[in-house]
């Protein structure tokens, strides 16, 4: 663990890998140190944002050093089922690029559970990693200027769902009708760090409610 300076009000904790990020984030998000207003996980780091009126960076650094990570946290999150139409614009080309065919790619995408590692890019955009991993997907050489909302996509070792129309460079493999970010719902963001996700080919979803998307206790 390395603590990196991030200005007068924040502390960036750099870790060895994503598993360490998830474990430290789970521990810090559950019991943030006094005066910490935001805990922001990312691919290799956890950022702690403080209210300088209530704490010092030295106190937060000391609290982080004595925080016991929770490597067990990955198994404990809510489970979300996302029905997907696997008809993305890049599905066939990407399957070829990965040396497989679309059916096998879909089988791999739906075959094992994903976990939201962190969010970013846009409100409610989760970076999902698959248990077992094994994905290494290049971005599109030229990003699209408009990716439709609900697009299910792959890039790097991650899968994601675009919450709304936006530019984007990920490979589009399908789309879901579930609104992953909905201001009328509490919580608005369906894909929060630690939430586990199962993608289901459309038509095979077991108990999709009227609003789509099933949130069930594990």
């Amino acid at each position: 663990m390395r603590l990196l300076p991030s200005g007068s009000t924040a502390l960036l904790v750099e870790l060895d890998d994503l598993d360490d990020v998830l474990a430290l984030y789970a521990a810090l998000a559950g019991r943030p140190p006094v005066g910490v207003v935001d805990v922001v996980p990312a691919a290799r780091t956890v950022l702690l944002v403080t209210d300088p009126a209530r704490t010092t960076l030295a106190a937060v650094a000391a609290a982080v050093r004595t925080t016991a990570p929770r490597p067990d946290a990955r198994a404990g999150g809510d489970v979300v089922e996302l029905p997907v139409h696997y008809d993305g614009a890049d599905l066939a080309e990407l399957a070829g690029l990965l040396g497989t065919d679309p059916a096998e790619l879909v089988h791999r995408h739906t075959g094992a559970e994903w976990t939201v590692a962190f969010c970013g890019f846009a409100p409610g955009f989760g970076y999902l990693t698959q248990d077992g991993g094994g994905w290494d997907v290049p971005r599109r050489p030229t990003p699209r200027t408009r990716v439709p909302p609900g697009s299910v996509a792959l890039a790097g070792g991650f899968s994601g769902v675009y919450p709304r129309a936006s530019p984007g460079g990920w490979q589009l493999i399908g789309r879901t009708d579930v609104a992953v970010f909905d201001l009328a719902r509490d919580p608005a963001a369906l894909l929060r760090p630690g939430v586990r996700v199962r993608f289901v080919p459309r038509g095979q979803s077991r108990d999709c409610g009227p609003s789509g998307g099933v949130v069930a206790a594990p």
Binding site: L4, P5, S6, G7, S8, T9, A10, L12, E14, Y25, A29, V37, D38, V39, V40, P41, A42, A43, R44, T45, V46, L47, V49, D51, P52, F118, C119, G120, F121, A122, P123, G124, F125, G126, R164, L183, P187, A188, A189, R192, P193
Partner: protein, 283 residues
């Protein structure tokens, strides 16, 4: 009579802002809020509003509003011609208008009204986040902005003795950022020695700067990481971008330094063309 302000003109950009949405960055939702927090807070203090009451953030003047009831208003931040209530609360009677000219110096004027701008909050805040597209819509001509009531007493202050934002060159204290070691020592010397100019494609997300490029010594891609306002992020072209209120929650370019948090409010008052110098802050 309904407590409200009717919008007659907006200038280049007027938004509703409060203290933002802290605590939701892990969901990809940034804090947003007033760009110049100190000026917005001053407006609320002078009016006896709670600290989280919403105000109007007016960019480069030009706002005109008409009171639908007897109200108490104040402007803070960039001083505009025509604003008789600058740093000093003043009544705006039903039917009267407040018209802001172009500020003589500074960029953002905060218009506070006793009771706060009472539009519906979104995810706990009335701030418009222009990057995320969250919060109340940008203020438009014809809007009728509801005004709330304040449970707090009036502070009885006639005038806050606050200096106007400077119009000339501004010096800003910086601390090394998390990726300062991705740049050579000469890059830090350049950053803290040269002058940069604010360019016109700056906005609430950040200030784009013109000036000497910073050379990286560590090549390769940085996995995205969290950041806060004041970050000096360095894209491949080498000229830093100084992030303000609506900055992205995470970014994939290295952050070479951070403007000390208190000084970020002053950055929010810099106009295109204005010169700034970074100076190493005592660490």
């Amino acid at each position: 009579m309904t407590r409200a302000l009717t919008v007659l003109a907006t200038g280049p950009l007027t938004t509703v802002q409060d203290t933002g949405r802290p605590g939701q960055a892990a969901l990809g939702i940034g804090r947003s809020g007033a760009c110049d927090r100190a000026s917005a807070a001053l407006a609320n203090r002078l009016l006896g509003n709670p600290p989280d009451a919403a105000v109007l953030e007016v960019t480069l003047g030009g706002l005109a509003v008409r009171a639908a009831a007897d109200l108490l208003v104040v402007t803070t931040g960039a001083r505009c011609a025509g604003a008789v209530a600058h740093d000093a609360p003043a009544p705006l009677r039903a039917g009267e208008e407040l018209r802001l000219g172009v500020p003589t110096s500074g960029l953002r004027t905060y218009v506070g009204v006793r009771g706060g701008i009472d539009v519906p909050p979104v995810l706990g805040s009335r701030s418009t986040d222009v990057l995320a597209g969250l919060g109340p819509p940008v203020v438009a001509v014809g809007d009728v902005l509801p005004v709330g009531t304040s449970p707090l007493p009036l502070p009885g202050v006639d005038l806050a003795p606050v200096a106007d934002p400077p119009g000339g060159e501004v010096t800003l204290p910086v601390l090394p950022g998390p990726r300062a070691d991705w740049f050579g020592p000469s890059a830090w010397a350049t950053l803290t020695g040269a002058a940069y100019t604010v360019t016109s494609d700056s906005n609430r997300v950040g200030l784009r700067l013109d000036g000497p490029a910073l050379q990286r010594t560590v090549p390769g891609e940085l996995p995205s990481e969290g950041m806060v306002r004041g970050a000096l992020q360095v894209p491949p072209a080498g000229t830093p971008v100084l992030f303000l209120a609506d900055h992205p929650v995470t970014g994939g370019y290295p952050v070479v330094g951070y403007v000390v948090d208190d000084a970020v409010d002053r950055c929010a008052q810099l106009r295109p063309g204005q010169l700034l110098q970074f100076r190493a802050a005592p660490g």
